[in-house]
Amino acid sequence: MITISWLIGVAAIVGLLVTVLPFSRRAGGYLALLGSLAVLGGVIGFIYRFEPSAGYQFGDDVAWIPQLGIRWDVAVDGVSLAMIAVTALVTACAIGYGLWAGRDRNHATYGLLLLTEAFLLLVFSARDLFAFYVGFEGMLIPLLILLAIWGGAERRQAVVQVVAYTALGTLLMLVGILYLGLTAPDGPSFAMADAVGRGPDWVFWVFALAFAIKSPLFPLHGWVMPAYRQSSPEVAAVLSGIASKAGGYAFLAVLVPLFPEQASRFAWLFIALGLVGFMWGALLAFRQPDSRGVIAYSSIAQMSFVVLGVFLLSDLGATGATFQMVNHALISAALFLLAGWAETKAGSGAFAHLGGLARNRPILATVVLIVGMAALAVPGSSLFASEFLILLGAFAEAWWLGAIAAVGIVLAAMYMLRWISAVLHEREGDLVGSLRPPDLRSGALVAIVPLVLALVLLSVAPAQLTERIDRSAQALVAAAEEVAP
């Protein structure tokens, strides 16, 4: 039977080969695409075979470094499955986009995207803290290299920011993991199951710091802007679409179950930060002068909302947060690819030079409008469903909490509408007039459409997803929910 280890192995080996061996750009790109499609195929198999009541599935558990009590213990529950599915889809689309839309890429860029996927799959399936850490820190390598070598003009500052924030947070977590693993009662063990409820407060905080930076949670989002602005479109899509989910997922699947007591004691803080980040990100998104700015701040807002959902410590909140992460992954990846495409063709992402792109470009207008509608959570869209779940959870917690959160959702509608109108309508921008960017065609379209289709599918049948995740989500927060007063 194919297990998650196979998928990680395929992504890692193909990724490494494509990165290191001297392929041509096209050969390397197609090989990487093939690898990512193979992983996607495996994940689709998982989705069909998944048994919601069976707990962790498709896993392997073998001794890895027995001297230190480290096991290769990977398995997939409903929440993992959702994250793995979007990871596979977004990676395939990102590689496809880079392959068809970018002439200046190198074969290594595709391999590095695939390596990122391998590390992310490990993060989303690890049941051992050591393996989790390898994925969590390891994914920085390909992303940093992609940013440092193929980033925009100000990539150096961006790299410094990313390193200063994420590496710091991640490495401090290493100390916490060592503490948990080596103080296990029956000799060293890094199994997550053995770490439940054992950690002192400082370990909780170093974990929370690492995850908050990665998410990013207000006020630790300083690295996000430069990183999203300086990355190439497909890397920005991976960064905001799936790499950031490592943070949100880890809050739900690592922090809360491992530290139920602290999670419940400090939940108010995370809820407050989530609320502030949700409002603040939305307000800033409304003021941004360019597409990437809007998408980046909307990402901060959305992920803050996810953290809020997680720390409601309820069935509704956890399911909603997972669903929200899936939606946001698809939406922000699609938005970054679209924005990047417009930026490449029109030479700028600034609204001052864009505008009027809808004229004579029916396909682009349609795709942007669908993604935009999904992003502003019109009733009936999948994002509406997930936000609704979190809102319900918030109301169940306290009516005023739900009321404030609802205001944030209105703000989200405002900045998305502004973005759509600034890009598609209004007066024709000077660059649009002079450069005459073509309509969205073939390559880029093929790369973006799967994301849009997935959004449409989720809007039509959200229950297909929620029925697979809700048991797992409930199980993850159960212990913390019990502790809560």
Binding site: T19, V20, L21, P22, W64, I65, P66, Q67, L68, D104, Y133, V134, E137, G138, L140, I141, L144, I145, A148, I149, W150, R155, R156, V159, V160, V163, A164, A167, L168, L171, L172, L174, V175, L178, Y179, G181, L182, T183
Partner: protein, 486 residues
């Protein structure tokens, strides 16, 4: 009638073999003059293979104390023999195609073998006499090796190393003399017993311990005794630099562990605070100083200073866990440094000059394997998974956290965040798309063996990073041999 001490010939056979090999290679150098390069290198490699083979054959033997208890051959000794031999062999291969090897190749091989002999002996020392003689043996060989390039920089490096190294040795001898005065013995065990029963606060003892510590810290190149490291590493031929950074560290750290844990356990209250201060300052400042370097060898020199500071953590932790993690860390560090310096050596031959952040611009696109390998070595230096650098860090920090040195572990972690600052600069320069390098001259001759070393190190760094279990087993086994008190 003079009583001669009994000698366990089997236990010291690797050292004898190494010495004979070195002498033979020296003869080859004398008689074959310029034509001795290939033969000298071949004999050198065979010798190193024999030494490593003998050490492996002795693995698992009971610890032996021989020649009137002045040498001890235990698993730590065996581990050092294998590691140093491997480093020396890789160094010979890196240097093989180097232009200087054409007229003094055999001398080079002989000096490397002499240095390796000294390193193996110092790791086996059980008395301060052995320690000092072995230290001088490998130091003098290294002085000569540093100056063997005969260009200005190399000669300056050799001379600087000679002068400063001698000062270090003198301080060390002073410390040994004071300790001898206080305890009446050179032998580690006897010194330890005398100190445990005597007055550890006596000025003579404190002074002796302090001077001894300074002398040894000087050799491992930690702050504030690091001044010689950047200059010597920069000027010395690059193959030699790699050897110094990997093998010298192994020998010096192991002997430091022996001295502190076998001879001076009673003085822990004196040396522990010193080591803590030195470790913290070195980890942070070494990496900070590396941030501003543009010369690649200088940058790697400061990185290795920072790494040496990190290597003090296991000594502070002490115990079998500490020694085991120290051994694993040193072994993990070796292929990373030798590999990184091998890439630098390759680059120097490509550009016929020194390696700087400027000269390596876009070079990674031209030399696929070397470029990718360099990226991996740099990531290993920064301690990223899944490289062996990460396992080294993990194995060192583990016992530290376990034994209540969490804050020290946090400092170590912060230092590796700083190190990312310069390591990523190198990666970004290697693959700078904004300009073409234009440096690629027609392939320099004799790159084959250097490329082979890079490939070997690459495989080691990855495989040992993903599957470190066996290495940890060996380190644990070896660590049990050191007599330890906590």
């Amino acid at each position: 009638m003079i009583e001669y001490p009994s000698i366990d010939w089997w236990a010291i056979s690797p050292d004898i073999a190494m010495g004979i090999g070195a002498a033979v290679v020296l003869m080859i150098a004398a008689f074959l003059k310029g034509r001795g390069r290939a033969i000298g290198t071949a004999v050198g490699l065979i010798t190193l293979g024999v030494v490593a083979g003998l050490a492996i054959a002795q693995w698992g033997d009971d610890p032996v104390s021989t020649i009137a208890d002045s040498m001890q051959v235990d698993q730590v000794t065996q581990a050092v023999r294998v590691l140093v031999s491997a480093c020396a062999a890789l160094t010979l291969l890196v240097a093989f195609g180097w232009s200087r090897m054409r007229d003094s190749g055999a001398e080079f091989a002989a000096l490397i073998l002499f240095a390796a002999t000294g390193m193996n002996l110092i790791a086996a020392s059980a008395s301060f006499m052995t320690l000092f003689v072995a230290l001088e043996l490998f130091s003098i060989a290294l002085y000569a090796l540093s100056g063997i390039g005969r260009d200005r920089a190399s000669l300056e490096s050799g001379f600087k190393y000679l002068v400063l190294g001698t000062v270090g040795s003198i301080i060390l001898v002073y410390g040994i003399a004071f300790l001898y005065g206080a305890t009446g013995s050179f032998q580690f065990g006897e010194v330890a017993t005398a100190l445990a029963e005597g007055d550890t606060g006596a000025p003579l003892v404190i002074l002796g311990t302090g001077l001894l510590l300074v002398g040894l810290l000087f050799k491992i190149g930690v702050m504030p005794f690091h001044m010689w490291v950047p200059d010597v590493y920069e000027g010395a031929p690059t193959a030699v630099t790699g050897f110094m950074a990997a093998a010298t560290k192994i020998a010096a750290f192991v002997v430091l562990a022996r001295v502190l844990l076998e001879a001076l356990p009673a003085m822990r209250d004196t040396w522990e605070p010193v080591l803590i201060a030195v470790a913290v300052v070195t980890m942070v400042m070494g990496n900070v100083a590396a941030l501003v370097q543009t010369n690649l060898k200088r940058m790697l020199a400061y990185a290795s200073i920072g790494a040496a500071g990190f290597g003090l953590i296991p000594l502070i932790v002490g115990g079998p866990d500490g020694v085991s993690s120290l051994l694993f860390y040193l072994a993990a560090y070796a292929p990373v440094t030798i590999g990184a310096f091998a890439v630098v050596a390759l680059h120097e031959r490509d550009v016929r000059g020194i390696a700087t952040l400027e000269s390596i611009r876009a070079w990674g696109f031209d030399r696929g394997l070397a470029g990718a390998a360099m990226v991996l070595f740099l990531l290993a230096l920064a301690g990223f998974p899944p490289t062996v650098g990460f396992m080294g860090k993990f194995v060192v920090l583990g016992p530290a956290v376990e034994n209540g040195w969490t804050w020290l572990a946090v400092v170590g972690v912060l230092a590796s965040v700083i190190s990312l600052g310069y390591l990523l600069r190198v990666i970004a320069a290697l693959y700078d798309r904004s300009q073409r390098s234009g440096v690629l001259l027609p392939a320099a001759p004799g790159l084959g063996s250097t490329n082979l070393v890079i490939a070997i190190c690459l495989v080691l760094v990855l495989v040992a990073g993903v599957l470190p279990g066996t290495g940890i087993d060996w380190a644990n086994e070896a660590a049990r041999a050191i007599a330890m008190t906590r």
